[in-house]
């Protein structure tokens, strides 16, 4: 069937015509992205953490779980007791004598699985809700909008804490809670994108052709609001890392003996006052670099897609 002629919306540069032009537009978007240093830096840092998580023990200098040299050694050379060996720990060792660098290298493993899943859940559910609210309006929209308001008033960390206390901490519950708490935020964004699309001519013409609501939503409106949804997915990914790391720090997220960054900070921060800064600072910098990288990617995507 014919793709109706749409006035190219600002959010998604999907051109008039068939699939090949859509693919061309996508290639152009990628070309624009690769020209941005912020995007490239973000991708390199993020892929770096993905790579160390996958390679793990194969590339860490020491065993991240049990290499008991001496506990809390500052970065540098550490003579191993009862031998004449000298170990080099560039980031020092933690309270159990484990190499901090090795632990930081594999510390992204759990959060880089849990956070994306939570973001995908939130964006999928939020997109569905937002499409329905924006397209059907009326009583459905009114009721759901009230519910969205109520969800937005909930303090994310505290409600997640409550739920994890009630259901017991498990990665699956973390994914579900964070995903559900993100859903209304995504729904609101998608809803407003749909609202501005639904009054455009291509939607009217599809209605006049007698297309069903489901068809119009999935084949006409959805491709045109894909831009904001992709941006929302990256933004939510960043916030999911933010939230999961905070929950792990509070003791209800990722559980020991994982070398997770947030968890490591929780286990080591009380030694900071005594001058042991390396076992918290390096995981903290790792979290910071990851969330900054994701936000650089999100920001670049947003400006390229809205051009």
């Amino acid at each position: 069937m014919d793709v109706p002629i749409a006035p190219a919306p600002a959010a998604a540069p999907v051109a008039v015509g068939g699939v090949s032009e859509r693919a061309q537009a996508r290639r152009e978007t990628i070309r624009q992205l690769l020209k941005r240093p912020a995007f490239l830096i973000g991708i390199v840092v993020l892929l770096g953490w993905v790579l160390t998580a996958i390679l793990g023990e194969r590339i860490t200098p020491y065993d991240p779980f049990n290499d008991f040299a001496l506990n809390h050694q500052p970065p540098g050379q550490v003579p191993v007791p009862n031998t004449d060996r000298i170990e080099f720990h560039p980031f020092g060792t933690d309270r159990l004598g484990r190499d901090v660098l090795s632990r930081v290298m594999v510390g992204s493993r759990d959060v880089l699985v849990v956070a994306p899943l939570a973001a995908i859940l939130g964006v999928t559910a939020g997109t569905l809700l937002g499409l329905i609210m924006g397209y059907y309006r009326g009583i459905v929209d009114d009721v759901l909008s009230r519910l969205v308001e109520a969800f937005l008033a909930l303090p994310v960390i505290l409600v997640a804490l409550l739920t994890l206390v009630v259901l017991g901490p498990s990665p699956l519950v973390v994914v579900a809670v964070v995903g559900i708490l993100f859903t209304p935020i995504v729904a609101r964004t998608v809803r407003s994108a749909v609202l501005s699309e639904r009054q455009l001519d291509y939607v009217t013409s599809a209605k006049l052709r007698g297309e069903s609501g489901l068809f119009i939503l999935s084949r006409e409106i959805f491709p045109n609001v894909l831009g904001p949804i992709v941006v929302e997915l990256t933004v939510r990914f960043g916030y999911a890392i933010f939230t999961v790391a905070t929950l792990s720090f509070l003791g209800v997220g990722i559980q020991p003996p994982s070398p997770d960054w947030g968890l490591s900070i929780a286990e080591e921060y009380s030694y900071m006052i005594a001058g042991v800064w390396w076992s918290t600072l390096f995981p903290a910098l790792a979290i910071a670099s990851t969330v900054i990288a994701i936000n650089l990617i999100a920001d670049s995507l947003q400006s390229v897609l809205s051009e």
């Binding site: 008033a153 800064w277 918290t280 979290i287 994701i294």
Partner: protein
Amino acid sequence: MARFILRRLLLSLVTLWLLASIVFIIANVLPNDVGRTILGPFAPQESVDALNERLGTNRPLLERYVESIVGVFTLDFGNSFITNKPVLPELADSIGRSAKLAGLALVITIPIAIIAGLFAARRRDRPVDRGIVLLGLTSSSIPEFVTGTILVVLVGVQLKWLPVTARPPRGADFLVEMRYLLLPALAMAIVYFGYIARMTRAGTIEVLQSDYTRTATMKGLTTSQTMIRHVLRNALIPTVAVIAVQIGYLFGGIIAVERIFNYNGMGSTMLLAAQQKNIPTLTAGAIIIGIVYMVATLAADLIIAWMNPRIRLDAER
């Protein structure tokens, strides 16, 4: 204006009811046995039954639901599982201490962020602007406890400029207390700097491009006259909205900050309640912060309506 306020108040009550219902579902419907959840899988059935009897959690769900909703609207959040005393008076002191910390964070961040946002907007796309945008993006994406950790290491442990704990010695005066709160407040301020600066920048850029700003400039007003009399009032509308939203988040992020800095505010109370599985205290905390968020957004809506009559008139129609 009266009609506008009344309408917004009624909607807030509906939101509060929904919010309380969501929290009720999490705390009472998700666990099929509240006593078992608290005591764990190895407790004998008799003690679980006794606890359920004491807490009233063996009564029908509907009865508990009605009681809990009525409780929320009369500010009665039930009794703590641990001390068996009403939750709210127990929470009041720690809420006050957290409000002090959050207030200091806002006092630090709001003026700096607004000035940075205005500054960036006036120099749009120049290096200063790109720098402020990047700084805002970076600062708001890092969790508070991570910023807090880095601040403790740099400012507290290495430079020894500020105390690394937020708890002042007994009998300390206001200024000393603020000195102790400065580092945790800074950790929170850094996160909110980004949101507020970005919103201020976006709002100002939009107003600077408007016809009335051009008219003001062309009729010969100086830059500062134009900014103060014409630009600010409209440009700061999104800023007011985002500050209100942040006040709610501020109380969420405070839990982790209080843990890092060993502060005895609402966050530590909630964390202790989580460890003790003290569900009434946790639900009360969630609902109270929800109310803080709703009051803040309501206040923001009123301020915005006062700043821009068009919004007020639209809402009344």
